[in-house]
């Protein structure tokens, strides 16, 4: 499951971003910053990789490329 959380942003800007980059994965806002604080986010963007048990296996600060996403997902999905 791939989820995008829009933080410290306006709804209009977020929707414009989704349209501009043709983002198809689920996206939602965090207006009160509850998810931001709960995940201890200090930098935008931050990517979290959560394992099958719901535990954060990896946190990546800053922009992430396809190679790293693939590598981390394969690590999590490998038996």
């Amino acid at each position: 499951v791939f989820i995008g959380v829009d933080i410290q942003d306006t709804e209009a800007d977020a929707l414009a971003f989704i349209r501009e980059f043709n983002i198809t994965y689920a996206n939602g806002p965090d207006p009160q910053g509850r998810i931001t604080i709960d995940y201890g986010v200090v930098k935008i963007p931050t990517s979290f990789f959560v394992d099958r048990e719901g535990i954060i296996a990896r946190r990546w600060l800053g922009a992430i490329d396809r190679r790293h996403i693939t590598q981390f997902l394969e690590e999590l999905l490998s038996p």
Binding site: Q32, G33, G40, V41
Partner: protein, 152 residues
Amino acid sequence: VRRWLPLLATASLFLAACLQPQPTDLEATARDMERNLMCQVCPGQTIAESSAPLALQIKALIRERLAAGESRESIISYLVDRYGESILASPPKRGANLLLWVLPASAIAAGGGFLYWVLRRWRRGTLFLEPVPEEPPDYAQRVDQELEEFRY
């Protein structure tokens, strides 16, 4: 009437101070917590000083949780779990952090001791002098003896 003016003015000020809305206990606790937590996106600033979105969100979270009956310690523990001890304005007095509390006091004590030693020697006029070896016990006797031999 003039005589009463200072008294009236004082009474008015006192009344005005009493009528000022006082922060509630929860608000006072929230403000105190904000002064003791560091902003994570604005270096060197506490949550209280910062107006960054994250700091504002943490302020709101603190008030919300206090209002819900959560303790100050529990909220701080929750934030430390998320952001680490760097969120604390004062490092906890244990482990390696203890050095941060002990070293400055030790340095001040050592500096004070050194200053005392320097001032003491300075007052005696021996600050820059090599220590003079003590006179051997028979020194005066030897001088007298040699003077006696020297004499015609």
